[in-house]
Symmetry: C2
Subunit: 149 residues, 2 copies
DNA sequence: ACCAGATAGTGCGATATCGGACCACATGCA
DNA sequence: TGCATGTGGTCCGATATCGCACTATCTGGT
């Protein structure tokens, strides 16, 4: 039994989660072209999965990041021509974010580039176990979110 | 069902892990005093749990971060008087990192400040489930680490 | 003993995160 | 209508992450 094994399970849990987030993010970004980060991809993916035309604040809430962070992420996406923003006709303070054709294509290519890595991982870790762990992760995430105030 | 069909579950898994890492880190840092980050705390904790007198490179490997990041983290800890470094008598290129009395005290206080949050979380999520998820997380972490090259 | 290659650590530059301050517009209430 | 308050978004500054390049030192083979 190593010293780590004696730590309370909660600490080890968050420790493992932190390291996995860090490693997966690094592996992820290594597959994306120059300067495109995991948050960039996540936003593109969200706009496709949910629907584009979201406002920056909606996106910030969806990803649980401060709005200043989302401003910055969107600026990066816009500078790369992957999204465009237009004024929100229903609210003069606000914008809406739209995917460009390049943005959609980029996301699809990225999925293709990522697939082999996911498959390689599936060779080491049973995907059914991954899926079985999802409800717990969601529960933890919601509990943390609720605790934020 | 082939592993490829499980692909969306993998994506959701890493997505949840990323958000949990982000929220837990933010909650964590909100409890620590001015400017002390989760990595700072993690390093202090590691030095107490394992043993101090580690080299910066050993620490970087333990936390799976680039050595430049560890240099920066250690500089922050040293500036706050929580650790001190001395030359490694066995290797002139290297240093060893030692805890100060303040560093030990700081860590113990932080554990005390964190305990209520952990307890509050335990009220929403069964700690036994958390513990049951640890082997999977370790497996994923090790697979990612092995894939780094 | 020498030298080539490996290894420990740092400096620097690019970029990300995020809190606080700020502006513009919206909303509610008198 | 007019103003106090609230909300969407950005700018700025402090700090974190991390790749690249560099120095100092160590190690192994000759």
């Amino acid at each position: 039994m190593t010293p780590e094994d004696r730590l309370p399970a909660m600490f080890r849990f968050f420790n493992e989660v932190g390291i996995i987030a860090q490693l997966s993010r690094a592996a992820f970004e290594a597959r994306l072209s120059e300067g495109v980060t995991a948050p960039h991809f996540s936003v593109l993916n969200h706009l496709i999965r949910v629907a584009d035309g979201r406002t920056p604040l909606e996106l910030a809430r969806a990803f649980q990041v401060p709005k200043t962070t989302m401003t910055h992420t969107l600026a990066g996406l816009e500078a790369r021509g992957l999204v465009e923003t237009r004024p929100n006709p229903e609210d003069g303070r606000s914008k809406r974010v739209w995917l460009t054709a390049r943005g959609r294509a980029f996301r699809d290519e990225a999925i293709g580039l990522l697939a082999p890595d996911v498959a390689a991982l599936a060779a080491h870790v049973n995907p059914a176990e991954i899926e079985a762990a999802l409800p717990l992760l969601e529960k933890v995430r919601k509990a943390l979110d609720a605790a934020r105030g």
